[in-house]
Symmetry: C2
Subunit: 265 residues, 2 copies
């Protein structure tokens, strides 16, 4: 039977709300995801929240019901609460019907099977959680083997990243490593490292892509460091016809990923 919480001062509400903060996520090893669509995606991939908050009014919805059942079967806690508390937990004015608290998870480089996918996404010092989530979502769409986060990136478990991923956080494996570790692993097997760059004459539409292709995206403001570019097997550029000299990082990654996907098919 679901518990009921209606008080803002309930200690569990405060503790869960604190997960919007990176330090608390790290200390607790847990993170927040909200919304029926994302939580259902999670459930279908076998990730069940430890704690599920749902609004009274939504309890009859079959997908909410399925979540409650899954949480209780998994010895988690399903908690009925008010729209106001859901709003407080998610930090949004129009709260979603459900908020889940999940254990964080991580994939290791050695767990990856590079023959499993023709495209892999690699991002370096990504700063914007919306970009990270959007890149995960694109990764899901193009069937990327994983998103490999290099050096100091924004936390993929931040509320904004989870929200922008639209559930792809649960379907695309995420690896966090430093550059030398990644390079060592990459060079132990087949894999073409492709970087987007302004320092090349190779157009991205004509370049020779070879699977598995590892698409490397640089920091939003600075792009790739020169010595990282130097390690790439191929640098390509995209046409920039306007006044600006760069695209949004998630956009550039997606245009490249769809190009590589089309060429590999």
């Amino acid at each position: 039977m679901p518990k009921v919480i209606t008080s803002f001062s309930n200690p569990l509400v405060k503790r869960v709300q604190a997960l919007r903060d990176k330090r608390h996520r790290r200390e607790e090893g847990m993170f927040l995801a909200e919304g029926l669509r994302i939580l259902t995606e999670a459930r279908e991939t076998g990730r069940i929240p430890r704690i599920l908050f749902f609004a009274d009014a939504s309890a009859k919805h079959p997908l909410v019901r399925a979540l409650i059942d899954a949480v209780e079967a998994d010895y988690g806690e399903a908690i009925e609460t008010t729209p106001d508390i859901l709003s407080k937990l998610s930090g949004k004015d129009n709260p979603q019907a459900v908020v889940g608290v999940f254990d964080t998870f991580e994939t290791l480089l050695e767990d990856l099977d590079r023959s499993a996918a023709p495209i892999w996404l690699v991002a370096e010092r990504l700063r914007d959680p919306g970009n990270l989530g959007t890149i995960l979502r694109t990764g899901d769409a193009v069937g990327a083997g994983a998103l490999i986060l290099i050096d100091e990136c924004v936390d993929p478990f931040s509320v904004e990243a989870v929200r922008a991923s639209m559930g792809a956080l649960f379907t695309v494996p995420i690896v966090r490593v430093i550059w030398p570790e990644f390079l060592t692993w990459l060079r132990q097997g087949p894999g073409q490292l492709v970087g987007l760059s302004l320092q090349t004459e190779n157009g991205y539409r004509d370049a020779p892509y070879a699977a598995p292709t590892f698409l490397l995206t640089g920091n939003e403001a600075q792009g790739l460091p020169e010595d990282y570019e130097a390690e790439c097997d191929l640098l390509v550029k995209m046409p920039m016809l306007g006044k600006a000299d760069s695209l949004n990082a998630a956009v550039a990654t997606a245009v490249m990923a769809y190009e590589v996907l089309a060429r590999h098919r």
Copy 2:
């Protein structure tokens, strides 16, 4: 000579800060843009702020100097202020060196010359200011003739949209119209209306694009209404290999825009 403002309670500071709110932007016909890169972009396209706030420490930077000179030559006000006040104006913890207050502007359908560009971006009920700004930025990169906003879209002059556009707000014309007006105008001359859809078997890589191509992007949550799809000359779909059935709206627009660009070149 620049004026100096150091007090949070200065009425001008309060009035400018209020421009972060849509209602005030509409009432005043003005909006905020921040950052040296974006304001320099604006200056180079001939858009000079009515009021420029700059931090004392930055006044010696040649690009800040150029902005101050341009504002004063244009009978605007250049105001030296503190980092704290800049932070308050922009709503960011790490304030940019400059914040500008600009008159809003708009392009009308009848001002567009459809022979001027092979690609035009059209977005319907766009809700997210980050997506709008990112689509503008992509529009700049692919040389789009304009961004045409259909029906009730988010305000392109919101702080988040301006920020995400990275200056493209000043380089890509923006038109705001309702659907029937747009359709009437479109059908008065050449123009292929292309919609991204799940209801078609046409792959986007093989579809026959004809310039000028008008790329229509639907609402983030709902996509295009059926009757809008029915007006399209061509519906195309993109491969979705994962669990999700859609991409981020700005990402989908960019992948399509780069495809059309490549095919027209």
